[in-house]
Amino acid sequence: MAAATRAKTGNQVKNGKVRRFGRWSIVCHWLYAACFLTLLVTGFGLMYDWLDFLAGAGSRLVHRYAAIGLAIMPLLYLVGSGREALSHIREAFRWSKDDLRWLAVAVPYHFTGRPKPPAQGFLNAGQKLNYLVVITTFVVFVTTGLIMWFLRPQLTVADQGVFWWAVMLHSAAAWVAASMFLLHVYQAALHPFTRASLRGMIDGYVTLEYALFEHPKWAQQFVGQSGSKPANR
């Protein structure tokens, strides 16, 4: 746990803030987000009549370019962020009872502030879920997308089912990912409990207060460290 939580580059603590993400991870996150959003918008053009204006041969082209971007982004992330990336992914897959308990109370807690959920580590269960959804839908998007893009001409009338399975999974994944995306954005940007976290994806640092509030199991290591005194407000 200790190794995993130690950021690879830069100071861990700075001006009373603690480092959450490396610079490369942040770049990848936003690039992925951009691709995803582009794909979502161009894809949803096909699915919602009122988004018809987004559908078009041009947006199909954009969708294909963005798909390439999306497909290579995890690779860049893994190469560029190495250990950090691995440790995050590993953590996303490591589930404890606390995570489940956290999930069980997450909805009422985020509406009312109680009951208080169990303490969470570097990733809370919600974030872990986000990771998992991103990873699974990524795999689905890429495989089914490849089928729809490159295999379509080869598919005969008899194996049209293959194409439609691909479409089915692709679109199902889109809605799941879109829903998760909405939640993710809302949490990071709007919900009072977590909106402070957005900074972590901008300059890499979050306030110790926030870190201790949301990720106490991880943040406690910074308490008392030089320069980490909670700033007076």
Partner: protein, 291 residues
């Protein structure tokens, strides 16, 4: 009496606007491809030279710019006398289904149920995604996809909707030298087709059949066949892919519901959580810090 190819006066058909159809009597098609050329000429579609296909066929199948293709099928039954082998010429084109897979598949409603029983393709709306190609049980609509294209569009037989609504028979009907492509009101063609099949049966073609009367809710391209549809590469009991139907009828609504529910859930949360406070150091779970 006009040409044997025209069963209903095209002017009258255009005025009435009722469903019309084409009926191709394959017992009289001589595989001359005049219909292919007439189709290209009327629609000003580009030629597309295919590699040698090992038969008399011009194109491997229907292409976005090749809307009718004669398929050449040699049917040789070794056990039979060599004099009764058959060589079939099958004029393929869009069937203008009543229940059309392509219409179901098209995500931008470029394909619609159109005038006089046709299935119309609005090329301006078409985005070239190729869903229709994969939704059609007959391989009758195509998009020539390339890795990065923006100008590729679907293409398919229009039943010459621009001609028939103006009182002209379709271009292929006009040109067929044997009059084996008939044009007229769908009811009239079905009547004619049934009679013709009865005649063929009497002449010894026990499996002769009229194809398209009930398939997919009724096709607007009918065929008189000398033998069972499989012999002509036509699907017996064609269906719109159940997976496609599931996509449109189950997955899309479910997905929209999921996203919608998420959205409204968050909206409600937005107001509900307005009074919750952001984490301050004092709010920090002390126990954790101290441990």
């Amino acid at each position: 009496m006009g040409r044997a190819a025209i069963l209903t006066d095209p002017q009258a058909a255009a005025r009435s606007g009722a469903d019309v159809a084409m009926l191709t009597d394959l017992s009289e098609c001589i595989g001359c491809k005049a219909c292919e050329v007439a189709c290209k000429q009327w629609n000003q579609n580009q030629a597309e030279t295919s590699a040698f296909l090992g038969s008399y066929q011009s194109h491997p199948g229907i292409l976005d710019n090749t809307w009718t293709v004669i398929k050449f099928v040699e049917d040789i039954n070794e056990s039979r006398d060599m004099s009764v082998e058959s060589w079939q010429f099958i004029k393929t084109n869009c069937m203008h289904c009543t229940e059309a897979g392509c219409v179901t598949a098209c995500p931008v409603d470029a394909l619609t149920y159109g005038r006089m029983g046709t299935v119309e393709l609005d090329v301006d709306k078409c985005i070239g995604c190729g869903y229709c190609e994969k939704g059609c049980p007959f391989g009758a609509v195509a998009v020539q996809a390339q890795v990065f294209d923006t100008d590729k569009k679907a293409g398919k037989c229009t039943l010459c909707v621009d001609r028939i609504t103006n009182g002209l028979p379709p271009a292929c009907v006009q040109t067929c030298p044997t009059d084996c492509i008939k044009y007229g009101s769908r009811d009239e063609l079905i009547r004619w087709g049934r009679e013709r099949v009865a005649k063929l049966k009497a002449r010894g073609f026990a499996n002769a059949t009229l194809y398209g009367e009930n398939e997919l809710g009724g096709l607007h391209q009918l065929y008189v066949l000398l033998d069972s549809p499989e012999k002509y590469g036509l699907p017996v009991n064609p269906q719109v892919s159940p997976v496609l139907k599931a996509v449109r009828q189950v997955v899309y609504p479910l997905g929209k519901f999921l996203l919608g529910a998420t959205f409204f859930g968050l909206l409600i949360n937005f107001f509900a959580s307005r009074n919750l406070s952001e984490p301050k150091d004092t709010d920090a779970p002390k126990a954790t810090v101290q441990s």
